[in-house]
Symmetry: C2
Subunit: 418 residues, 2 copies
Amino acid sequence: MSLIKQPITGMKDILPREMEIRDYVMDVVKDTYKSFGFVSIDTPCMEHIENLLSKQGGDNEKLIFKILKRGEKLHVAEAISEEDIVDGGLRYDLTLPLARYYSNHQNELPSPFKALQMGYVWRADRPQKGRFRQFMQCDIDIIGDGSNIAEISLIVATSSLLSRLGFKDFTVRVNDRRILKAMAAYSGFSEDKMDEIFIILDKMDKIGIDGVKEELIANGFESEKVEKYIELFSNLKPDAEGLEQCKEILADYIDTDIIDKLLQIFAMVGGTRDTSFALTFDPTLVRGMGYYTGTIFEIGMEGYSGSVAGGGRYDEMIGKFTGNSAPAIGFSIGFERIIMILMENGFKIPSSKEKKIYLTEKNISNAKLAEILAFTKVERANGRIVQITPMKKNKKFQKEQLEAEGYTEIIEIYNDEQ
Amino acid sequence: MSLIKQPITGMKDILPREMEIRDYVMDVVKDTYKSFGFVSIDTPCMEHIENLLSKQGGDNEKLIFKILKRGEKLHVAEAISEEDIVDGGLRYDLTLPLARYYSNHQNELPSPFKALQMGYVWRADRPQKGRFRQFMQCDIDIIGDGSNIAEISLIVATSSLLSRLGFKDFTVRVNDRRILKAMAAYSGFSEDKMDEIFIILDKMDKIGIDGVKEELIANGFESEKVEKYIELFSNLKPDAEGLEQCKEILADYIDTDIIDKLLQIFAMVGGTRDTSFALTFDPTLVRGMGYYTGTIFEIGMEGYSGSVAGGGRYDEMIGKFTGNSAPAIGFSIGFERIIMILMENGFKIPSSKEKKIYLTEKNISNAKLAEILAFTKVERANGRIVQITPMKKNKKFQKEQLEAEGYTEIIEIYNDEQ
């Protein structure tokens, strides 16, 4: 019987060249975040279907790969709807599993809990270029620290990570959900319309400020309010000065302590950062997920649309599990995005090991082979990659292939010395 | 709405202490195998249900977590059996995905192809102590090398790995499926009965040689043949000498080149190995999977029943995908087993980094915080783990906790110097 050679639609096999870069990036991610005191954790890839469908995940809940019940619990013929036959699903992000994990193990965990997670997540999205149905996510989260130090740690850690990976021209954009709301309130919009407004505002990247204005009006918002709203965006400076403007303009609509916290982030991150990346205040930054409650941030890369990392504060989600709320904040890097950018730019792993290979003739003698085995042992101990492989008939082609794989020393071994 | 805190039955959340060891072991695995010229690859966790149910996986095929079809392809109410509603499943091992991967990408891969895979697999087994429904597998395979050098590389690489992890008292047991068959033929059993015999023989670990004898007779095998068979096992020495005995006794039932190849493995692995582990010929070694065609091996650990690693040659499986057969051989280490043994023995990670923490008082000034951020940057660059965290009201308890987490330097920071 012949089998299907292709992977499942929308998922991909990872070839050695890409995997080498992925392994390297995973190492740098772990090493960097651990140096900031984050600790690795892991959760099962599968979660209870009830949790996955609890409305924490927004649109992602429509994209779940669901797991069939098994054995006696499964009655296919009698089933009427999905609920009858499904008891689990693959996680669509790492935030929901983290909230469950924290609520389950709170007493065994450090406080504050600084978690690092790297793992696959699944979304049955329409397949498109560069977007897969299984992809790696990489999140850091701090649970139990409501202070600004959490914000600063996340941003400093993630920008350090990107710098270590050789990225220079990136921009960390910062906003606060409460500034978003204050700006809408200042313009005269009522609380219950805000979600609708923010969904439109979130399209700024694609349709520009004029597009946002048009769409707001097209959606029935009064043009006077819309004018006031749009003018506000146009006037705000994209930096600490813009925050000072907000403090003045929005004074009646927001606790100015919130803005002072952002100013502190600007001062602190600005002070330690390499000059290689930019830090901006972006009052148009929305971040899709409804669970964010405070600071939000996103990192964009010169020359690439969309973001390479994003996150924010979600102080209410943990309470949904535990009953006791706990402050929480997370930053998620777009692992697949970063790998794609590195691959496109012909990324070379710094200080990779020297590669050496011994090609043995057919029926190599035990004496010769024992000798080489002893050599290779020492060479590996000295930090090299070394292998022994039978010589092929087309030796020239074999050597060309090996050179292409990065083998710089290719030694032919014969029973009789040559 | 409150959510379910426990992970899915039979799966586990991994706490930071275990995860630290897992991360370390994964690093050592990758570093060791890569130094032998293996290259990392990865495949999707999900496979086509047709491939998973193609009879390559033996009993594991009964334990598949199946994935529900989605969207227009799913008609629950009309469904009669599982086939109607399922299109994928979670992989139960890494060998089938490797065979599919190789057949899909053969022309883009090195030859021979030396693959390293680490990834989760899923089996809906009955949950029991130390056995989980999601677990990490870690496989090395060589495809396209039919020579003995492949066998020797796998065994040397895996025993090096175990030595690097600090294991000493382990035993590498080697056999060949063709010796198994020759011994049965020599005793007078017919070819078509051999699978049944080997299933009984495979229980040797649990029921001993007398148990095997009894069960064979109970299953209707002639006692004369059984006597001859059992006596043969009793007479064979568990080393190269035993192989020489086989060469003589089984000469009419096996190509003696096969035994000479095992003798070469003994000489070569024996020559380079640290004296810390034992290498034995074990004519009772069966290995369950039906796809093995030649050499088989298993590693056992003093004081632990069962094996910590196992593998063998499966020269026919690749042909089932490609139509063209390719020699293949693999070694799988029992990652979860190894982690469990290390945890039980209070394993300490060698040369872990020094940990330092700054505890800041409430409302720490920007000037102070900027100063500490600058310190931490330098300290991290010097190889330390350093974090900044708000001081708690119960400072004494906080410090005790931090000491338990391995923080050796705990610095309190106040706005006014103390």
